[in-house]
Amino acid sequence: MGNNLNRRRFLSGFATVAGGLALSGCKKLDEISAQDADFRKVLSSAENLTRTTQRFFLSPSSLAKEFTEADISPKFRANGSTNPDDPGYQAMAANGFADWKLKVGGLVDTPMEFSLADLRAMPSRTQITRHDCVEGWSCIGKWKGVQLAKVLELVKLKPEAKYLVFTCADELEKTLDNSGRYYESHGLEDAFHPQTILAYDMNDQTLPIAHGAPLRLRVERMLGYKMPKYVMQIDAVTSYASHGAGNGGFWEDRGYEWYGGI
């Protein structure tokens, strides 16, 4: 009996200690993986390895798989903003985006503005591709638009331009200082990739508002968050550090990888 009691005491003591260790262990793991923790930098070093390795194996021209009409998802999920409530955007939407202009500037020889009609008058590319969300789901859709490379050839990037920053009309997080506005950035390898298009049509229809009307970027070798919707402005820059919180995009500022190929 005494033995039994001892054993029970030992077991409950052991369970308390083990449980306590597990709990404080979880707390510790939460602490060291927080955005501003030093250990976070160690974890995040994997991103450089992934980017370097993928860039090594991916030739600039290797294409994402293109599908057939039969593969198109009957329902293409819309994530993030689905209807920007910015009054300026709403006014343009009410007018069928007739007054909308894409501004392309920054480190370029000739800053230019493009209306939807201008973009539609340029040579187009149509592709049926798989859209992969960072959450894990995939949808297949048909996109038509102008290759970003064609636009960049017109404005001519200056040699010091290394990245393109895309500014969007939607505020995905409501803030007072505009830090919740969606933006993204890409390096030139992806900007000049043949499948990188500024899409104005989706599934043979005008791009719907839920999917980023009037213009959404498609970068087919990357995850969905690297393909901003409601694109208003493209700036060529040497570094994206001065935009947003400096990590290269809305989601990057919230801890996601800048290299969105994985």
Binding site: S44, T50, L63, W137
Partner: protein, 276 residues
């Protein structure tokens, strides 16, 4: 010395069982797999559904862990091929800081404990790299130093005696020999050459960058959503392996097993020593 003396005080016979590479790889894997599983569940929680094929058929996931409101309050439901199971408290709906929350896997199983896909991915890819590099070093050297043939491929003799070995396991009787028994060898071979490579390849097939560079990989699986589901199934098999592995370590001489995986030295039964 007489035979009786030997019987009363058995001589301890040690063999060198695990090379330093096996031991190091084993403990690196313990850490990597623990974090890969916990961060994997965090990532799964961002979309606690599984689908089959190239794209997600949102109305018909083959598995999902969701919370649903009923007249009696919210319940956690795990649905597999359309069959729903009430898993309230663990899957679909569980308590986070005293509050009921809709989440696939519970907070105690994920890293970080709170819902944070971005951080889960950071943990996952960091340990995935270490896991893959360790695995490659292990595989290549095991082929070169013939560890695979010497220690992992069962002998004809062992295969012939698979019946008695199974019987021993069922009676929880484990003869301590230098070599792994035939069931161990079979399990390790399946893990090393099927499940672990498959979990890595299925993981890679989910990367749109990898898919553009190596289109055959995603074709091998038949679609990104299939790859995601196979990744999940492999992870489940790994958990199953760990449970059985740890239980068998506990019942077949925990200190002997632990010592051999730390120092390499394993104590074998004397009959086995004589047998050699």
């Amino acid at each position: 010395m007489s035979a009786t003396a030997l019987e009363t005080k058995p001589r301890k016979v040690f063999v060198y069982r695990h090379t330093v590479l096996v031991r190091i790889a084993h403990w690196i894997n313990v850490v990597c797999i623990a974090f890969l599983l916990m961060s994997g569940m965090q990532i799964f929680n961002a979309r606690p559904d599984l689908y089959w094929g190239q794209k997600s058929d949102f109305e018909h996931p083959i598995l999902s862990m969701r919370a649903r409101s009923t007249d009696q309050g919210p319940v956690g439901e795990t649905t597999i091929f359309g069959h729903a199971f009430n898993t309230t408290g663990v899957l679909g709906l569980s308590t986070v800081d005293g509050q009921l929350a809709a989440r696939g896997f519970p907070a105690w199983a994920t890293v970080p404990s709170y819902q944070d896909l971005a951080t889960g991915r950071r943990w996952h890819f960091f340990f995935a790299w270490i896991f893959v590099i360790t695995g490659l070093v292990y595989l290549i050297s095991s082929l070169i130093n013939r560890h695979v043939w010497r220690d992992l491929l069962p002998s004809r003799e062992q295969l012939r005696h698979i019946g008695p070995t199974i019987w021993h396991h069922m009676k929880l009787k484990f003869p301590h020999e230098r070599d792994y028994n035939v069931l161990q060898k079979g399990t390790y071979l399946i893990m090393i050459f099927v499940v672990l490579p498959l979990v890595v390849l299925a993981g890679l097939a989910m990367s749109p960058g990898v898919d553009a560079g190596f289109p055959w990989l995603i074709d091998l699986f038949g679609g990104r959503q299939t790859a995601r589901t196979i990744h999940f199934i492999c992870a489940t098999l790994i958990v199953l392996f760990i449970v059985v592995h740890v239980l068998l370590v506990l019942v077949s001489g925990v200190w002997n097993n632990l010592r051999s995986m730390i120092t390499g030295r394993y104590r074998i039964d004397e009959e086995a020593a004589h047998g050699q």
